[in-house]
Amino acid sequence: MVGIVSYGTYIPVYRIKAEEIARIWGEDGEVISRGLGIKQKSVPALDEDTATIAVEAAREAVSRAKIDPSEVDAVYVGSESHPYAVKPTATVVGEAVGVGNYYFAADLEFACKAGTAGMQICIAMARADMIRYGLAIGADTSQGAPGDPLEYSASAGGAAFLIGRKNVIAEVEATTSFTSDTPDFWRREGQPYPKHGGRFTGQPAYFRHITSAAKKILEETGLKPSDFAYAVFHQPNGKFPTRVAKMLGFSKEQISPGLVVPYIGNTYSGSSLLGLAATLDVVKPDERILLVSFGSGAGSDAFVIRATDSIESFEREPKVLEKIERGIYVDYGMYVKLRRKIKMA
């Protein structure tokens, strides 16, 4: 049986309210907050970046698994905000986790779905018996240009999943992808902020890819929405995952434990994975979770995951929800300093 052996998460402690961002740009904070389904978002500290977030999440995953770090034979880090343009984040993680030197490693990029792409690679390698355990991590410290609507959602956080064949807490029963060349969101090399096609890209990008991947995996497995206890969809805002769930026949109750975006914003590569982690925090043996990520550019990875009996004895504290709740609020001035939006002379 191949699946999730352990997981770990990290969310920076600072938060900024949508209201506070709206105050600076002369917008109605309440209207924006309600429109996006986002109350606040996480903000990284000056000494945090994608590598530090990935390391913290990975260390938690390895320590909860109670394995020797040297048994980790692969490290894949998915992000759109790797600290270096050239020089992998994965090697920083491998060293900090103490996996040794004989391991497969690479950084992955596919907007917000780079982390789930890493999961698919690790699942395939574990099935092929190439690795004992593999770490698939999605982490980001994403940025929106000042005044851009993305500024209300682009946040920071990450999750790490340890994939393997032994002591599986949640079996990955199936995975599939739907991919197309869709330019809905991009960032050119050397540019600090991304560009996007605006609100009209929802239909051809987010909704088309998620529903196509979800329908395909339901067809392949012969399962229907009622066979799942929970579902997690990529969460660029609070509205899209709620709407796509309804389109596919999933209820609000099924998506609610994994809907973390209203409180921490869109953590990009961390987004659907933090949702999955929050859902694994509450799942019981034999319950199924449908996970569907989305990355602009564009693609969706779908997974059918089923909790095993081992989930009951697995260490799930502190829960993702507790990490979400302990936040320190900052104002917009502190926020631009933390996000290095002020250029020093």
Partner: protein, 128 residues
């Protein structure tokens, strides 16, 4: 700076200490000989848990150039649960820090060589 940092990465990313298996004493920074046991020393390398408590601290208001954007910040002497005492930045609200406070190791950035140079990562501490 670069080669000097590079060779120490292992000790900066993780709290690698040595332990004398003869008397059970931990040494950080690591030592090759136990001064208590001398010739009877049996030294092994161990990774410390990273958990400990604040012995004393000071709040830095006059920061060096590369730390200016983080001032005021806390530098603390931390007694690790295994015994060794380490001096490190403690990332927390300056008003929150107190003696005896429980802390744990965290992986953070500790500097960079300008916009185009290498980024340094190291171990700092945060409230547990």
């Amino acid at each position: 700076m670069l080669p000097r940092f590079w060779r120490k990465i292992k000790h900066r990313y993780n709290l690698i200490a040595t332990k004398c298996e003869n008397c059970g004493t931990y040494y950080y920074p690591p030592r090759n000989l136990c001064p208590k046991c001398r010739r009877k020393s049996r030294i092994v390398e161990v990774k410390l848990s990273g958990k400990g408590e604040v012995l004393s601290y000071s709040v830095v208001h006059e920061a060096p150039e590369n730390m200016k954007d983080q001032k005021p910040y806390v530098v603390a002497m931390i007694k690790l649960d295994e015994g060794p005492v380490i001096t490190s930045q403690l990332v927390c609200d300056c008003k929150e820090v107190r003696r005896g406070m429980r802390v744990k190791a965290a992986f953070r950035r500790c500097g960079e060589e300008g916009d185009a140079g290498i980024i340094y990562y190291c171990t700092k501490f945060v409230p547990e």
